[in-house]
Structure formats: C-alpha cells, structure tokens
C-alpha cells in the first residue's frame, strides 16, 4: 500500500514544448492517499490515460516527480513500483487454467506452494471464480477474463496500487453491474489504493471515494461524487458529471443579481456582493436539471417557459424547455405529471451556481 504523490508534474510528448497546447499534462500537484478508491474522469484526449501511465511507470514524465511514500520513482518500471494494472481488454494467459493464471505472479516471486494455494482460493472465492478454477483461460467469457486479470493483481501481498484503464469497456451492460459491485467489495475488503480511469461518470461515481475530473491536461476538480454533483467548481465539471449535464446560461451583472434576456434573477447577498469585482469576466449561471423546479402554474417568481420536448426514460423524464431563447433541461421523477405547452420554472438559490470565466464564484462570508 502506498501514498502516491505527484509533484510539479507535467508531461509533453514534444521535445521542446513552448506553450500550453504542447503539454498533454499541464503542471499539477496531487496526492492519492493510501487505500483510497479514486477515479480519473474525463473525455477522450483529456490526458487521463497519459496520467495513468505516468503513475504506473509505463511512461516517464518530462517534468516533475512521482513519489511513492516519499520515494522518487520516476525511473522505476511498473514491476519495480509494485503496480498491478488491468487493461481495457482482458489480458490472460490463454494456455493456462484460471488457477495457474492466478498463481503465476506468486510462482514468479518464489512464494511457497501452500501459501499460493490458499491465496489463489481466497481470491477466487472473492471474485466468484471458484467453479472455473480448472477451466482453460481461453474458454472464458470477457467478464470472466477481466476478473482473472483483476485477480492476478489482488493475489500479491506487496502490491502498492491497482490501476484500471477503462476495464469495463468490453463487458455487456447487464454484467457491468456485477463487476462494479465486485470492485467495490474488493476495495472494502482489501483496502488497496485503486485508481480507475473512465469516461463514464456513473461508473466513476459508483466506484470512487473521490474523483479527479480532467479537462485539457489538468485536474479541474478533485472531490467526492456528491461534491462534484452539488458544487461543481468548473463549468466543465457541471457539464460532464450528471446526465444530462448542468444547464448553463450566459448572464450579465445587474443590481442585486444577474440578468439575461428580459429577466432579472436575484442572487443571494453573498454572491451579489462579489459581482463588482467580476466586471470584466464572462458570467454564467448554472443549475442542474435535477434541481430545476417545474410547475404548471405561475406561482411566485416562476419564469415562463415553453415545453419543447419530453423524453420518457423509464425511471425519470427529461423536459426540454425554452426560456428566453435558451434551451433548458429539467429532470422529473417518474410519477410527476408533465405540463403541456407551457411551464413555469424556479431556480432554488441553494442550487444556483455562479461561474466567472468558467470558475465557481464562492460566496463572500
């Protein structure tokens, strides 16, 4: 088990990088604490696989240091760092049985036979692979093979961290569930540091204690799934986390609040007080579809919208509304009646976020 620290880390694939665009990873300082379950979340091309390879040792960073328990490991290979890695497609030794696959890392380390047997059985039990132990690896299904890949990482006592690179990509949706649960159970049982790279925010949220959201080579927010959801610190986090993403409307500063179109939206005192210092920045308000209040009667302070579309997604419905020319999405629970034609919306102030140049504006206290 190890604490992994990234210090002044940056990486560029070109030999003489000059500007930000040349960097795959822009300068960052970050700590992954021991025993935590972390996710690296971001769209393709954001640098998450590069970062994973730097942590595992498959790639050496062009700048900065990678420290394992205060020891600099930049030049060490994955096996020297005691890293186990699970790849996108299952990597198993086809000619060996499941038992031999799991025993392989231990045999290479010269572990005693009795210990190998007990460890393999323990891990096989945890991963529900017990009935398959004598089966040849090549005859397994994709999800069983992935479990074997994970098992090889878990068998070792000295593993410092297990890294997952989008491991559920080839798995059927109805089996993804089971594997996700397995991963979570494994983490609770063994308490190994786990870092999981994905572009699927639901996967990241259900697996990780804390998620690092990456955008353009930088970690724009590092927080629990709840924090990412309730207080996104960057408009990208608001957009990327949550299905559908956060509604963002460009606004201008006004007395006591903000305005767009012909509407004036009052802000809390704390936020309104900060408006003067944000005069030259691009202002946006954000509110998640889950928090938009929708009624079919005007009520107090409701803003008039036109219902453009309704999508029935089984457990919930998504409403697309037009507010002053902006398209807005609201999420309604299954049983809530859907207004037709016209609807009135409200933005509760505790969920209304203000962003200046894409960064969250914190209230002045």
């Amino acid at each position: 088990m190890a604490e992994i620290r990234l210090q002044n880390l940056a990486h560029s694939y070109s030999p003489q990088p000059r500007q930000d665009a040349d960097y795959a990873i822009r300068e960052m300082d970050h700590v992954w604490e021991q025993g935590g379950a972390y996710a690296l979340l971001g769209p393709s091309g954001c640098g998450k696989s590069t970062l994973l390879n730097i942590i595992s040792g498959l790639l050496s960073p062009s700048e900065g240091k990678v420290l394992f328990d205060t020891r600099e490991v930049n030049q060490l290979t994955p096996e020297q760092r005691n890293i186990a890695q699970v790849f996108q497609f299952p990597v198993v030794y086809d000619t060996m049985t499941v038992y031999e696959n799991l025993a392989f890392p231990l045999r290479n380390q010269g572990v005693a036979q009795a210990r190998i047997t007990s460890k393999v059985h323990e891990i096989a039990e945890v991963l529900d692979l017990h009935p398959l132990l004598q089966r040849k690896a090549r005859n397994l299904t994709a999800d069983e093979k992935q479990k074997v890949s994970m098992g090889r990482g878990l068998v070792r006592d000295d593993v410092s961290a297990i890294l997952f690179d989008e491991p559920l990509t080839v798995i059927d949706p109805h089996l993804k569930w089971k594997l996700r649960r397995k991963l979570k159970q494994i983490h609770e049982q063994f308490n190994i540091t786990m870092i999981y790279v994905t572009h699927d925010q639901l996967e990241a949220s259900t697996f990780a204690d804390k998620i690092a959201v990456m955008h353009g080579g930088q970690i724009v927010q590092f927080g629990t799934p709840r924090e990412l959801f309730e207080r996104p610190e960057h408009t990208f986090v608001g957009f990327f986390v949550g299905s559908p993403g956060m509604n963002l409307i460009e606004v201008r500063a006004e007395e006591g609040g903000v305005g767009f179109g012909t509407l004036h939206l009052p802000l809390t005192k704390g936020l309104a007080a900060k408006l003067p210092e944000l005069a030259d920045k691009r202002l946006q308000i954000g509110i998640r579809p889950e928090f938009v209040q929708v009624t079919d009667e005007p009520g107090t302070g409701g803003m008039a919208t036109e219902v453009v579309r309704v999508e029935d997604l089984g457990t919930y419905k998504i409403l697309t509304l037009r507010l002053q020319g902006h398209l807005l999405k609201a999420r309604l629970p299954e049983d809530q009646p859907v207004p037709r034609g016209e609807a009135w919306v409200g933005f509760p102030s505790q969920w209304l976020m203000l962003y200046a140049d894409d960064r969250l504006v914190e209230e002045r206290r």
């Binding site: 096996e79 890293i83 186990a84 790849f87 030794y93 890392p105 290479n108 380390q109």
Partner: protein, 287 residues
C-alpha cells in the same frame, strides 16, 4: 457470407480457367493416363491397370528414397522452425535497424535456386571454396563429394541458410501482432523471458507457425534443384531425394508408366502428411 450471384463474373474467370486447365489439369490427367499404361514408344502402349503401382510400391529404390526424404524433411523442420523463431525474437521492431534487418533477411529468399546450389557447391570445395579451404587448413577432413556425412551436412546447411528467413519473417509478423498490453502484464507479473515466450508469444504464434511448418514441409519434400546442383544426388545415392529419383526414372530411363504412377503416389504422400500436420496442429488448439 452468401453473396448473391452475378453470372457475368464467370466470363472474367474463363480465361484463367482455360489456362489452368491447359497447363495443369490436362497434364495431370495425362499423368494418370500414363500411370496405367506401359509405353514403349509414342505409338505403342498397353493397358496394364494397377501394375505400375504395385511395382513402385515394392521398389527398394523408392523405399530408400522415401526414407532419405523423410529424414531430410524432418531435419529441416527440426532446425529451421526453432531457429526461425529465435531469429524473429531477436529482430528489432522499431527504428531504421528494423528495415535493414528485414532486407538482409529477405535476401537469401530472392536468390534463384540453382544459383543457391552453385554458391554452396563452390563454397564447399576444398580448392577454391572459402569454407572448404578453411576447413582443410584447420585440419578437418571435409569432402562433400565423397563423404556421405559431409554431403548431408552441406545440403542441410544450405537449406537452412536458404529458407530459415521465411520462417523468421513469418514469425516476425506474428510477433508484431501481439498487443503491448500482454508484455506489460507479464512484466507486472514478474514473468521471466522464458515464461513470456512460453505463455504469450508461442501461443499467439500458433497460426503463423502452422503456415511456416506446412510451407517448409511441402517445399523440402519436393526439393530438387539445390541438392541436384550441389551433389548431383551423390555420393552414390546418399543425397538422392524423391524428386530426383522420379526424374531419373521418367526422363533418364524413359519409364513413363512407372514414373507417372510414382508422381501420383508422391502427390498423395505430400497431401496425406500435410493433412496430418494440419489436423494435429489445429486440434491441439481445441483441447
């Protein structure tokens, strides 16, 4: 995938069809025809049924030739396959050395076969050949023209020199197809190089090796030009393989009947052994 047929395509195939018929099928039928007749000259022939076949199968010359042929092909496979794999493993995969290596490996394959025979014939001579001369200077008694053992070794070395590149290049392409992730996983598992070879590389080379083995077997079983040029089949019959025996019979002695029967049997032997190899290798997979 069942294609829906467009009959016009057959017209395009017709010329090739005719060519193949003319150059292969008709001659083949002629051979079958000859194999059941006794031919004295162009106009005198007698139908003898399966006589030639019976005679051939009891012919001691044929048995000896067949034995020599099997030993030769066996040695060729035993040496060239492992050697080819070993060479492929050491060939670089990236950079300019990779292209250079590929070119060097391809050169022996491009040399016309009788030139190969001639090269080694001269190379092995004690008076003007580099190899023969050096061996004589070192005190080794080497003469491929008079010593059976020396002749065999020379023929084998020549074939290895000529054809190992083929196996190496096939295995090289097979190795390139293995995704990096497997090697990374093996490193993480602290596997030794031998384990990597045995559990990752070799299994993934199975299909390529099948091709290599089949090709080398068939070619070595049919070998004619190189040993003919090198040793002429000598000393005596020591390096006379099946194809040379056949040619002597057909062209040398003008025994067209037995020769025809022999060539059909030859064809069937190759077919049978190839089929056995193929079945063995593909069934080993499905255990």
């Amino acid at each position: 995938m069942t294609k829906v047929h467009d009959n016009r395509a057959w017209w395009l195939v017709l010329p090739v069809f005719l060519l193949v018929a003319f150059s292969a099928v008709l001659p083949m039928m002629t051979v079958v025809n000859y194999s059941v007749q006794d031919i004295f000259d162009a106009s005198t022939r007698v139908f003898v049924g399966a006589d030639w076949y019976r005679q051939i199968l009891h012919d001691p010359r044929l048995h000896d030739s067949l034995l020599r042929q099997f030993i030769f092909s066996g040695c060729v496979l035993l040496i060239e396959i492992p050697l080819g794999i070993a060479v492929a493993l050491t060939m670089p995969t990236r950079g300019r050395w990779a292209s250079l290596c590929l070119i060097v490996m391809a050169i022996p394959l491009l040399i016309p076969w009788n030139v190969v025979g001639t090269i080694w014939q001269i190379f092995g001579r004690a008076d003007i050949g580099l190899l023969g001369y050096s061996l004589r200077e070192l005190g080794v008694d080497y003469n491929y023209a008079s010593n059976t053992g020396d002749a065999w070794v020379t023929v084998l070395v020549m074939d290895v020199w000529h054809w190992t590149s083929l196996v190496a290049l096939l295995c090289y392409s097979g190795l390139r197809a293995i995704p990096d992730a497997y090697y990374q996983a093996a490193r993480i598992d602290r596997a030794s190089s031998w384990a990597v070879f045995r559990y990752i590389q070799l299994p993934k080379l199975k299909s390529v090796l099948l091709i290599a083995v089949m090709l080398r077997f068939m070619d070595s079983f049919m070998i004619y030009t190189e040993p003919f040029v090198l040793t002429g089949g000598g000393p005596g019959n020591a390096t006379t393989f099946l194809s040379q025996t056949l040619t002597k019979m057909a062209v040398g002695q003008f025994d067209l009947g037995p020769a025809a029967a022999f060539s059909l049997i030859y064809f069937l032997i190759i077919l049978l052994v190839s089929w056995l190899f193929y079945t063995a290798m593909t069934h080993a997979d499905q255990k």
